[in-house]
């Protein structure tokens, strides 16, 4: 008995020690003096492509060659812009290294460029993220090295004055410092980056657009785009996957000003590496990506269709271009989503004729008949509060939806002068003045006196032959 207790306590202790060891190794601190074995040239890719997974298991010297190119490109259909780029496209080339790697960075400023540039990589531990070591005039190259001390997905950008202008012209991209254990394998990895553009003209104004510093100050962009241009990764440029495949998105936000409410219409993020770091959140609808920040997002595409990757600050998506698409191809899975099962007319009143109740106190009193003038006055008031919402002012109706009451052949043909319609409602197809209507009018619970006034008003005011309808007439029809 005693020895069993000892054993249990010892086991518990052992488990605790083991457990604490496991947690302490989860976060590995890189010793910068650790050896670096071998040397590779980094594979760089343009969005939406991502460089291949890193297979090296030891710290490696990775050589990155990045060329800065200023060039005119398409911002939207018929709209050109002079972009400043890391590697010829916006966003800049995707760089992938491994936690603990030594990165030897070579930045080249093309001789035809107008301006000096540099680079600030958020993955760098050091002054300016490399910016001060890399300021270069056109036609020059700069070299600096850094140790990838922290894993995660990081933004890089130009930090040459005026910094905002260099970023606004497209100078940003992502560098991934892959954790030692690597990511779980997925079927597709994609690179998407949001950024906004401040143009001299408005959204869609054709021709070459200049940068507008005032709009940038005011944070009033005309374009908010995914991957550097309207439609860069949507429509025929959309990313494509098969049903059942898994996707990892490396999503960045270059800014320069706006924070992205990143969302995929039609998908839930199974996993989000919040802010591109080590904190993992699950089952996320919309994740915030700050300007100069990123997120790693994973999900499975269970059903066919098009996923819209948007900034859910939604006017940016539908009115300024912040939309990319993933087309999911394959068979339907009705266990997950049925698609449209049926469509039918929605009637808030229900399919059967409803009764609109009114006060009934008058019904108990004796019938008091009114003059034509009195009926018209009461009728006008009652029409406006009970009928006009559908039959419109002056009884115009809405062609095809609510029949008109003006000179209505349908109304004039009825022997009840329309009393039955108000008392019992009406549904089904009718033809009024040559136009077909198929709708429902609810029955209106209203005193004989009120029905008489409304109908008197309709018959006189709307040119249906005139005449005075008495409460007694209504009562007679009601009792039929």
């Amino acid at each position: 008995m005693k020895s069993k207790t000892y054993l249990a306590v010892a086991t518990l202790f052992f488990a605790l020690i083991l457990n604490s060891c496991t947690t302490s190794t989860e976060r590995r601190i890189i010793d910068p003096s650790e050896d670096v074995k071998g040397q590779v040239r980094a594979v760089l890719t343009d969005a939406p492509e991502v460089p291949p997974r890193i297979t090296n298991k030891s710290n490696t010297k990775v050589i990155v060659e990045l060329e800065i190119i200023e060039k005119q490109m398409r911002l939207s259909d018929g709209v050109d812009y002079t972009f400043w780029t890391f590697g010829g496209k916006v966003p800049g080339k995707f760089i992938r290294v491994r936690h603990g790697d030594l990165v030897e960075f070579h930045l080249h400023n093309h001789p035809d460029n107008m301006l000096p540039h540099n680079i600030d990589l958020h993955a760098v531990t050091g002054p300016g993220g490399g910016a001060e070591a890399s300021l270069i005039a056109p036609g020059k190259s700069a070299q600096f090295s850094f140790r990838a001390l922290n894993p995660g997905l990081y933004v890089y950008h130009c930090a040459t004055a005026p910094v905002g202008m260099h970023i606004a012209n497209g100078m940003y991209g992502l560098i991934l410092v892959e954790p030692l254990e690597g990511f779980t394998p997925v079927d597709h990895e994609f690179y998407v980056m949001q950024g906004e553009f401040y143009t001299s003209g408005g959204y869609g104004d054709p021709g070459h657009q200049d940068f507008d510093m005032q709009k940038a100050f005011d944070e009033r962009p005309d374009y908010v785009v995914m991957n550097g241009a309207v439609g860069a990764s949507s429509g025929e440029n959309a990313m494509t996957v098969q049903v059942g495949e898994t996707v990892r998105l490396f999503m960045g936000n270059g800014g320069p000003n706006l924070v992205s409410s990143f969302h995929a219409i039609g998908e839930i993020f199974d996993k989000v590496y919040v802010e591109g770091g080590s904190l993992i959140n699950h089952d996320v609808q919309t994740t915030l990506i700050p300007a100069g920040g990123a997120a790693i997002i994973e999900f499975t595409c269970d059903v066919p269709g098009t996923l819209h990757l948007v900034d859910h600050s939604i006017f940016r998506a539908f009115n300024k271009g912040a939309l990319a698409q993933i087309k999911v191809i394959g068979d339907e899975n009705h266990n997950v989503y049925t698609g449209k099962e049926k469509e039918e007319v929605y009637l808030p009143e229900g399919a059967a004729i409803q009764r609109i109740s009114q006060d009934k106190e008058e019904e108990t009193g004796p019938i008091v008949e009114l003059s034509l003038k009195e009926r018209m006055e009461a009728g006008e008031r009652l029409y406006k509060s009970n009928c006009m919402a559908c039959h419109m002012d002056h009884g115009r109706g809405i062609t095809g939806t609510f029949p008109p009451l003006v000179n209505s052949d349908f109304l004039q043909a009825r022997t009840d002068k329309g009393i039955g319609i108000i008392l019992h409602g009406l549904r089904g197809e009718i033809t009024v003045n040559g136009t077909k209507y198929n709708n429902i009018m609810p029955a209106v619970s209203m005193s004989d006196d009120k029905v008489a006034s409304i109908l008197t008003y309709i018959h006189n005011e709307f040119d249906n032959g005139g005449g005075l309808i008495n409460a007694a007439d209504v009562k007679a029809w009601r009792e039929k």
Binding site: E70, Q72, Y81, T82, P111, D112, M114, L115, P116, P127, G128, A131, E132, A133, L135, I136, A137, P138, G139, K140, T160, A161, P162, V163, G164, M165, S200, H208, D210, F211, M213, Q214, F217, D218
Partner: protein, 254 residues
């Protein structure tokens, strides 16, 4: 031997007198301006001085190289100009008609070369304050600085990628042509605001530019074009040459 040198010297003087140097210069009247530099709240006084009406052309610079063979592209010392020096000139530059008549501004010249050229002309490079002050003058006929911002914008966004000729962009109120929109221009003290990486106080580079950035506000949105010039100068060393950078000369008034 000494006679030959004397004749050469006199000849140079004669040619110098014949050169319409003063005609091709304009006087910039004394005044002051508020420069776009971190921490500068006071206006900087600028004495009256003479400034070249046009940027130095390929033809001008060819004459200089012919007279000063040590500045020839194949002879220049690496200390004074990097490998890009005059790299846009053809091999046979000494006998090239189109170069002799080229009205395009000379580019791919180092600060040392520009400085030597101005000395040869018995002039000097303008100081940064002189240059910036002269460049603030509005184009003839313009009433506000938006015109200058537009010229800069057009240039940065490269609507005309081909190198324009001198005297083709705009003339300002002092009668000086193309201060903006043609080429970047060397100034005498280009590295006085932002130190280059030879200096130990490299934080000043960042601070100077970033604090300048902080001083920008909605009321002076057009200042960013000056900002770009300052950062450009900050990326240079005296031996650097670039495809978009030339110069013009100045002269003090005695």
């Amino acid at each position: 031997m000494s006679l030959k040198w004397t004749i050469w010297f006199l000849g140079c003087l004669f040619i110098g007198m014949q050169l319409p140097a003063q005609e091709n210069m304009k006087m910039i009247p004394a005044g002051s301006y508020k420069p776009f530099i971190k921490g500068t709240t006071e206006r900087i006084a600028v004495e009256a001085f003479m400034l070249d009406k046009y940027a130095v052309t390929n033809a001008d610079f060819l004459a200089f190289v012919k007279a000063n063979p040590s500045w020839a592209p194949d002879k220049v010392k690496a200390l004074f100009a990097d490998s890009g020096y005059l790299s846009h000139w053809p091999e046979n530059y000494l006998d090239n008609k189109s170069l002799e008549s080229s009205n395009e501004p000379v580019v791919n010249v180092s600060w040392f070369a520009a400085n030597a050229y101005c000395k040869w002309k018995n002039k000097r490079l303008p100081t940064m304050h002189e240059w910036e002050y002269a460049a603030l003058a509005l184009p003839k006929g313009a009433t506000d600085s938006a015109a200058l911002t537009q010229i800069n914008n057009d240039w940065y966004s490269r609507k005309t990628p081909k190198q324009a000729e001198v005297g083709s962009i705009y003339e300002n109120k002092y009668g000086i042509w193309d201060m903006y929109g043609l080429v970047w221009e060397w100034v005498y003290d280009f590295n006085s605001v932002v130190s280059n990486d030879d200096s130990r106080n490299s934080e000043d580079v960042i601070e100077g530019l970033f604090c300048g950035s902080a001083s920008l506000n909605a009321s002076d949105a057009s200042d960013y074009v000056s900002f770009i010039r300052y950062s450009y100068r900050g990326s240079l060393k005296a031996k650097y040459t670039t495809r978009k950078m030339g110069f013009r000369c100045a002269k003090s008034i005695q």
